[in-house]
Symmetry: C4
Subunit: 344 residues, 4 copies
């Protein structure tokens, strides 16, 4: 794993180019940017973003070094794709309004998608609604040949199907909706009203595509079960990075009950507050099959484009690798709640 | 919902006009103004004010977007009045001594009462004891044609009845007492000694008016039951914004037990630390029928007079609306404890 | 209760005269002065001092104003003395080394003892070991005609008996030992080695005086029971203001179990972190019969001598009075755990 | 116990010579140096380092002074060595890269080993891999005639045996491995790959030496039991000062379950966050037989060389002595969980 950059330089460069839109804090925890939507923050008090970080941070792991696991295996496969790591890029769009003019949407798309690919991972792309911006993401995905496309939960299903079709043509290996976008009532003003989806609507949308179908933005067992019953292939436990509703619990708090109910029936992803390989490992131990990282990869993109994104995903994967040694996990399937500390 | 102002400008203007009496903090949580009574703070260490915010903040909500609730209904009715929102203005008086010379009592009354009315809500007015000041509030209420008047728990019941009569003549749709004012021992020096009220006294006062009768300042099940048994129509779970007694629990901590006992028998309002539509929604989920917002509306009034107050109540109501979508609540009666997160 | 001074002026003057030995913080909580022994702080990390404040602060009270208690009674009596308040001055000595040259030991003794007396309370005096300093306290006590003398747990019992005798001659109404001084191993160097006391030794000392006998520095049920069995009249739940052992629990955490076991068998006092009348009320609700206030009265003494001490004890007593109204407590015997908030 | 230096001067001198590598904070808690590896910090967010301090700090002790323990005994013996104190120096190496150029590895070794010896304690030395550096430690140990050598868990057992042999020749009274070094994947690049050890490997290594054999870096009951079954003589409950894995629990949280299972079968040591004699006492109460102190002794070494280290170990031992008086513990075997506070 060749490194052409170092973390301090990366962060310094990103801090400069982000120009205050993101402060590139020592730990990205949602405090400095609280309420900055648009921007990088969580909505309102920023509590939902901060809670993601707090919930993960409250979980402690068991160090163990009396065993024979010397070279753990961090590889996995999702949607038929062989990956070097279970750590992927979360869908994030609308860079100009959220992160300033340091990168165009096209530059950002290229950095995130290519960087993820170079790290042996998979980028998830989002739905900026604006057609030109969406094209930037589709082209970046087309270039590397794979990706996952998550579309906003528009009331107009034709719009969704069209976005799915374009994604499919450009190499998507799975498509889905981020239903937690349902509360973005300002999208109505832009001509693209959104809203929640019923089980029946999810089943219809799922059946409208040959690709695996994902529902992102699941925070309750009830919603997760509805997804499974609707034939959804994968869910993402997510509160949209805390950007759509103030005062939700952290995703690490929502995940265990959902995994307990559905592990093995649907693929379970999670995002929210993951800042290291150990954080990823905690989420896997809580029941996730894979994880998505969001804001830190924006820092990677602003700091060193695709190389910056690759650098960070590699870094997290190395941390995951070292952590698997220190917990005696030979591969990702060996990671379960036994590696989490429980007080006497 | 037309907006002629934005939040940042509103807060900047208010900060200027409040001139240090209130710092207009990012989150109004009682830390900066701890102990500032008179002023905007909580009494003593400010713990009771801060606890209101902390108790609410500790409650986490369940995000849910797999359902069919696209256009929730935020309307309600109290005291025979149809309202666009369950979020009303709390009674606050004595502006010159508490918030400086930026607004006269008359200006403040006009801003709070008219602004609430413009937002389709209802203003609660308080009892400044001073006759001229009380007239300012009565006139503002008279102009919009409705309001709720809360009078101090004077030992002299004739004074209370006189204040009720004036309120009735000026459009009050309900009257009541804030019994938590009982500890204001300095009021004796001003010739208006106050004190607690027995069930019998509450029954008498309640029967002395044809309007619905409210008791504000209830923090225990025992007191709430006494109110119900005395024939009180509505109670307000409140610690007076933390201004009368240091170290009480937050109202969000006191509310559930009271609602469990009395929901449906009396109308239950609550104030204390409500800073957004999601906070209002939490209080409804904990058992309240409606909520009162205090200090933030002072910022609204100082920032842009009646338009500022309208702007904020509208903002909270929009947040409530969006949050109801993200929890699948079709109307206010669908909001209950199932929307609150409980850890596995 | 005439006031000739105000709190802000008192604190400003004290801050000046204390010259950094005490910062006169907004809330006296042991953070700024952590580790300053000699000085005003707690020993080591200051955790025991801070824990006193935290433990009290974590306890929340029930506001109640539906009742008929309009003029509560704050008076009590200890050791045959009628007092206006259950709030007394804790024994504190060695001012020059701990609080600087702003006040001599004689000035401090005069301020604390006379100020307490003027407030209708009782001062407890300590044992500075130095004979001249002890005389300052005895003279101040002699002048007002009453007080309580707490002597260090010297290995040499003759020294203790001599100190008791002097106190008795100068008006002491009770005497005792602060056994938590047992760990002050540096006192050996000064020729006055100290140490723990057995039940038998406490019984002997108790029987050596006709005055009520007090053991101060009790933090466990076991020690409290030993005191009761040794015929001790009163105990003080105390960790010596956090000055003798780092990392003890707060006294508010230790008190309930001790009161549960011994309430009514011995008189129970408590000190540690009491900063207001509500704090005093909490301690009474947890099982104390009376409370001692320490450091804040030093601020009173430095701020305005005896008048400053009187002002603060009066202030706390007024707060206690107002709080008793807002909890429906007619007198001190009506204060019990029912006024403390317990979460549903 | 003669003191030629004082704490403030020691810390000021150390702060100067450490030149920012360590800020010599009021309490050494891992916040200021979070992530500084190399350096003095914990890895990643620094959470594992900070958790060591927090976990210890959350434990509260019972003050008790009604008993007859006047002169407690702090002596103990490990590995056949009579010691004045159960507080020893933790193995720490690679000073130039971690603490700057203020001390050479040789100076540091001399300070730590000699200082520990002068305090009647025992120094544990580590494994800097570099041969010259290791020699510095061996020479320092040789000079005082005793010590404990902890070697990195190299995959190459011959390297380990060679290091054991050198230690044995230079006066080691016990040898062992810090298995928690297993995750240092960068050591492979230096030609000394490391990894976890199986029970069988530990048994082999244990049998390869006539000295008592220690495994350091045990954080789970499972690993501890494997060590016991492999014939290991002693374990050290340790997370390597939080330097190898982010987000572990604190060692004070891991210790009780391990001690409950193994107390008496193997000797149990612990390190992590011990900053005073009271901290040491807490660890003994949680089940440890002895404790190791790390970073603070570096401050001692930089502040006043061997005298600084001696000063600090003496200071901790005096604090332990005073604390044993205030808890009624005649000797180290009398320290158990009864001295820890449990809330009613």
């Amino acid at each position: 794993m060749k490194k052409t950059i170092d973390l301090l330089t990366l962060k310094a460069e990103a801090r400069k180019k982000l120009n205050g839109y993101c402060r590139v804090c020592p730990v990205c925890d949602g405090r400095a940017c609280a309420g900055e939507v648009p921007g990088m923050g969580g909505t309102g008090t920023g509590a939902s973003f901060m809670e993601n970080v707090k919930a993960l941070s409250a979980i402690k792991v068991n160090l163990s070094a009396v065993h024979d696991i010397i070279s753990p295996d961090t590889t996995t496969s999702f949607f038929g794709q062989q990956l070097e790591t279970p750590i992927m890029a979360a869908p994030m769009v609308n860079y100009p309004i959220n992160t300033g003019s340091g990168l165009t949407e096209r530059d950002a798309a290229e950095a995130i998608v290519t960087g993820s690919h170079l790290a042996g991972s998979l980028a998830w792309i989002g739905d900026p609604v604006d057609t030109a911006m969406y094209s930037s993401w589709l082209e970046a995905m087309h270039k590397v040949g794979r990706g996952v496309a998550i579309i906003k939960p528009r009331l107009n299903h034709d719009g969704i199907l069209e976005a799915f079709a374009k994604a499919t043509q450009n190499g998507a290996v799975a498509v889905g909706l981020d239903v937690d976008g349902a509360g973005l009532i300002t999208m109505k003003l832009k001509g693209h009203p959104v809203g929640p989806k019923t089980s029946e609507q999810l089943r219809e949308l799922s059946q409208s595509t040959n690709l695996p179908f994902i529902v992102k933005g699941i925070m309750t067992v009830q919603d997760a079960v509805k997804c499974a019953e609707a034939g959804v292939d994968a869910i993402v436990v997510s509160n949209h990075g805390g950007r759509v509703l103030d005062h939700t619990c952290g995703t690490a708090d929502a995940l265990p009950a959902i995994a307990k109910e559905l592990k093995g029936r649907v693929t379970i992803f999670v995002d929210g507050g993951i800042r290291s390989g150990v954080d990823a490992l905690k989420m896997l131990a809580l029941g996730a099959d894979g994880v998505l990282v969001g804001r830190p990869l924006i820092v990677g993109a602003y700091g060193a484009n695709a190389e910056g994104v690759r650098f960070l995903i590699n870094k997290y994967t190395e941390e995951l690798y070292a952590a698997m040694i220190l917990m005696g996990c030979a591969n990702l399937h060996h990671i379960d709640s036994r590696i989490l500390f429980e007080k006497l």
